[in-house]
């Protein structure tokens, strides 16, 4: 295109634009004139109206002045009363504020960074009602609360329930909830939530771990008389109900989350000091501090706790050495690898677990009490502890010393000291002068397997030839379930109350009575103990039962092991005990 053509096109466009502008401009002018005229007319009519209104207003003002005089009198009287009330209210509020400030002052504000925790196994889900693996429980303990908790002396202490009353019939438990507790969604915890949680535990479709007599299985009905009060009615009288519901399996969960997600395997429906954070299966799961946690005693002391799955023991230990991890789960074999120059501290506590030989009381020759006594006499428990636990365990009964005043000291019993002659004599008396052949079933962990090996040798000294069968975990559990055993080495948990330690394992109907032991008096005592509220009387009842069981040698208990952790020297204040191994309140990491 030529330059001239372009120029003429541009000129044409400019001309057209100018014409359009003029036309539009003229039209607007005419419109504006019209509007101005209309407005003038409006102003005239408004002035008229204003004058009328003025005279009306003068009349109204007169009336108002009279009314005001009257109102003033009444108002003065009311004001005086209101001021008084306000002063009282202000005083109350000030008092409350002071209290709150005092409480807030108690709250630890400073947190010490992130705790990195190396675990030996992978957690299997995070639903406190259906997950039982150790690793899961460590994580869930940070995320969930229960109605009550147990301190290290097994005394029941408040958690979500700040107080409670027990009915005289021992069948009615009334809990008064904390009014400031919230779920991690921010919603307040109410009596309805407690009711929902227990109904979830008891629903037959879920198969919750707490749905058994050892936990919440005895709950018959639940009432919620007001927002913060829960009344639970039990099927049978129980003195252990409070310690039963202190279990993680009886956690209070958020109905909204459960209903939205279907379950809590991967989701957080808790009230605990930490919220469930990032989860990468087979590698890590993080929990993050929950600022609005209701209880100062349990407030988060770390910004986050990072749980790592490190199944290889050497890798855990070396990560700790290198400072990549702050705390790891350990065992006695690992302790030997720690050298004095390693910057590592050892933390341990006496568990409430015990290792024992269970003998089948309904299968010959163990149906003869003399054979069972002979086996007890044959054992050298110190030697077993040296071999299986590097000496790091205590000779113990099935209600171990870590259960405080409930325990019976088994070392005072004659047959807990090795006596080969007596053992041989008892065997001969029972008709086995040359001993017999039997099977010792072991499995699950090294402690159990090592005990099996030493016991095999020790029994040889009295002529018993035992074949140690080392079973794969699941087979071991199958045999345990089927009570298919001559002698089985087991690791049991004595629980938090002697009712579990005795009735669960030794009453005729006990679900874990794998040795088929039966004694009418023990059964009777178990029923009595479960319904007795007086602690001293209960102690007498259970001690009688324990002594009968020990004298009849229903089992040959061996040792109560310690649990071990290895930690960076920077970790301070971590003091796990058998009641609570994952309470990190007050624990710090020095910088």
């Amino acid at each position: 295109m030529k330059k001239q053509n372009i120029l003429s096109i541009v000129l044409a466009i400019v001309a057209v634009a100018a014409i359009v502008f003029c036309i539009v401009g003229n039209g607007q002018k005419a419109d504006l004139q019209k509007q101005v005229d209309e407005l003038n007319a409006k102003v005239a009519s408004l002035t008229k109206e204003l004058e009328t209104a003025k005279s009306d207003a003068e009349a109204a003002a007169k009336e108002a002045a009279e009314a005001l005089e009257a109102a003033k009198k009444t108002a003065e009287e009311e004001l005086n009363a209101a001021v008084k009330a306000a002063e009282e209210a202000a005083q109350k509020a000030a008092e409350e504020a002071a209290k709150a400030a005092e409480e807030a002052a108690k709250t630890p504000v400073e947190r010490s960074g992130v705790l990195r925790y190396g675990m030996e196994t992978e957690p299997a889900g995070f639903d406190p009602h259906t997950c039982s693996s150790h690793a899961s429980i460590r994580v869930m303990s940070q995320v969930y609360n229960q109605l009550v908790d147990l301190d290290e002396n097994l005394v029941v202490i408040p958690e979500l329930a700040r107080s409670w009353e027990v009915g005289e019939d021992l069948k009615t438990y009334t809990f008064h909830l904390a009014e400031n507790a919230t779920f991690h969604s921010g919603r307040k915890v109410t009596a309805e939530d407690v009711k929902y949680s227990f109904e979830r535990i008891l629903s037959p479709e879920l198969g919750a771990l707490g749905n058994s007599a050892s936990y919440a299985g005895d709950v018959e009905s639940i009432e919620t008389p007001d927002e913060y009060t829960v009344v639970m009615h039990l099927k049978n009288p129980s003195v252990t109900f409070l310690s039963n519901v202190s279990s993680i399996y009886c956690s209070i969960v958020d109905k909204d989350v459960v209903e939205a997600k279907g379950n809590l395997l991967q989701d957080d429906g808790g009230t605990g000091p930490y919220t469930l954070g990032e989860y990468v299966p087979d590698n890590h799961v993080f929990v993050n501090a929950y600022d609005a946690h209701f209880d100062d005693a349990y407030k988060a002391s770390f910004d986050a706790i990072e749980f790592y799955t490190m199944t290889d023991a050497n890798s855990r230990l070396n990560a700790l050495r290198a400072g990549t991890i702050d705390l790891i789960v350990a065992d006695t074999a690992m302790l030997e690898l720690v050298k004095p120059e390693d910057p590592i501290q050892e933390i341990s506590y006496q568990t409430r677990d015990y290792y024992a030989l269970f003998m089948n009381c309904t299968r010959a020759p163990f149906d003869d009490v003399r054979v069972r006594q002979a086996i007890n006499y044959a054992l050298n428990r110190e030697e077993i502890i040296d071999f299986a636990f590097n000496g790091q365990a205590a000779v113990s009964g099935f209600v171990p010393a870590s259960m405080g005043h409930w325990a019976v000291d088994v070392t005072e019993k004659d047959y807990y000291t090795q006596n080969i002659e007596k053992a041989k004599a008892l065997l001969a008396e029972a008709g086995y002068p040359d001993g017999f052949e039997t099977v010792i079933t072991v499995g699950l962990n090294d402690g159990i397997r090592d005990i099996g090996m030493v016991v095999q040798q020790q029994l040889e000294a009295i002529g018993i030839k035992a074949d140690v069968q080392n079973e794969e975990n699941a087979t071991y559990i199958d045999k345990w379930k089927a009570h298919d055993l001559d002698i089985m080495v087991c690791q049991n948990g004595a629980g938090s109350d002697p009712n579990r330690g005795v009735a669960f394992f030794f009453s005729s109907t006990g679900s874990a009575n794998i040795q088929n032991y039966s004694n009418a008096r023990v059964d009777e005592l178990c029923v009595l103990g479960a319904g007795e509220a007086d602690v001293e009387k209960r102690e007498a009842i259970y001690k009688e039962a324990i002594n009968i069981i020990l004298d009849e040698c229903a089992t040959a208990t061996v040792a109560c092991p310690k649990a071990y952790f290895l930690a960076s020297p920077k970790l301070q204040g971590y003091a796990p005990n058998a009641s609570s191994t994952s309470n990190f309140a007050g624990v710090t990491l020095a910088k």
Partner: protein
């Protein structure tokens, strides 16, 4: 070629049916079950029945198998019994991690093994050859868990160092990911390198004895051309077969290394599944690994045709 590939892929169907049946039966035969694992000592007959119903384990085995395989065909491997997470997406995310580890391992192996194998063949019975053969033998015979543990201990004691324990994806943070993966990949590579080196050496030796190599040399071709264009290319068929098999087995076979270095790969997922008797996880993983193995072998077979034009599947 296309027909061949379709034929091979169709051949996959009976293989997969066989494998799925085998793994289903094996999982049923191993003692112990998922319910025992979940309930542990808290087990009562009532609770057990509740769980069996909930997980569908109360149904006849044939029905359980058909339900599972029916869904698996559509890519739905079900949900983990223990964590409730869908299995297939989890397998895919784990596969990426294992594949990265395996590929890095292979690269290390090739970098070490191919040049050394070729040199060793060319300088047969020399000092270099002997040294290389000893190294290869060590690579093959030292199990990777032993070398991994020793390396971790050496780094921790000597340098106060441990690879990062928090896994970070390749695309999340390349640097940290490499820090996590390089050592395990090197250990995997060193084991593979041993056998690849031995295979390269013997295969090269065989080809170098052939008449056509003499002809190439007599023609006056430069040694570089003789070795790489004529000898190495012709000797690479068995090497590639070996490498293909190794990659296939590495996909599920890095489990020991994954465990030691806490890498959340496919092997670790399968192993955790086996330990927890998590049937959907184990069955899904095994089926996936089987498909992968077959596909990798198919790729290797196709690769032959490019290396050796005489091979044809038509």
């Amino acid at each position: 070629m296309r027909d061949y590939i379709i034929r091979r892929l169709l051949g996959l169907i009976p293989i997969l049916i066989g494998i799925s049946l085998a793994i289903f039966i094996i999982m049923q035969l191993i003692p112990g079950d998922v319910v025992s694992g979940i309930l542990g000592i808290e087990q009562t007959p009532e609770l057990r029945a509740m769980w069996e119903k909930k997980l569908g384990l109360d149904k006849p085995l044939v029905e359980q198998y058909l339900t599972w395989i029916g869904k698996a065909v559509t890519g739905d491997f079900g949900e983990s019994f223990r964590t409730g997470a869908p299995v297939f997406p989890e397998i895919m995310s784990r596969f990426r991690i294992s594949a990265e580890l395996a590929i890095m391992g292979c690269i290390f192996a090739w970098i070490i093994a191919l040049p050394l194998g070729i040199i060793s063949a060319l300088k047969r019975n020399s000092v270099i050859d002997r040294v290389v053969r000893v190294i290869a033998l060590m690579g093959v015979s030292i199990p990777n868990f032993a070398s991994a543990t020793l390396i971790i201990l050496f780094l921790a004691k000597g340098f106060n160092y441990h690879t990062p324990v928090k896994y970070v994806g390749l695309f999340e943070n390349f640097g940290t990911n490499m820090e996590i993966m390089v050592i395990p990949a090197f250990i995997l590579g060193s084991v593979m390198a041993g056998s690849v080196m031995r295979m390269t050496r013997s295969s090269m030796l065989e080809v170098l004895r052939q008449d056509y190599i003499k002809a190439v040399r007599a023609k006056g071709a430069p040694e570089r051309v003789t070795i790489f264009r004529h000898a190495f290319r012709n000797s690479s068929i068995p090497i590639i077969t070996l490498i293909g098999m190794q990659i296939g087995s590495l996909m599920g076979g890095t489990v020991v290394i994954e465990q030691i270095f806490s890498i959340p790969g496919l092997g670790q997922y399968t192993l955790t599944g086996i330990n927890q008797r998590d049937y959907p996880v184990v069955q899904g993983c095994v089926l996936f690994i089987a498909v992968l193995y077959v596909v990798i072998n198919l790729l290797v077979d196709i690769l032959y045709t490019y290396i050796d034009p005489r091979i044809s599947y038509n």
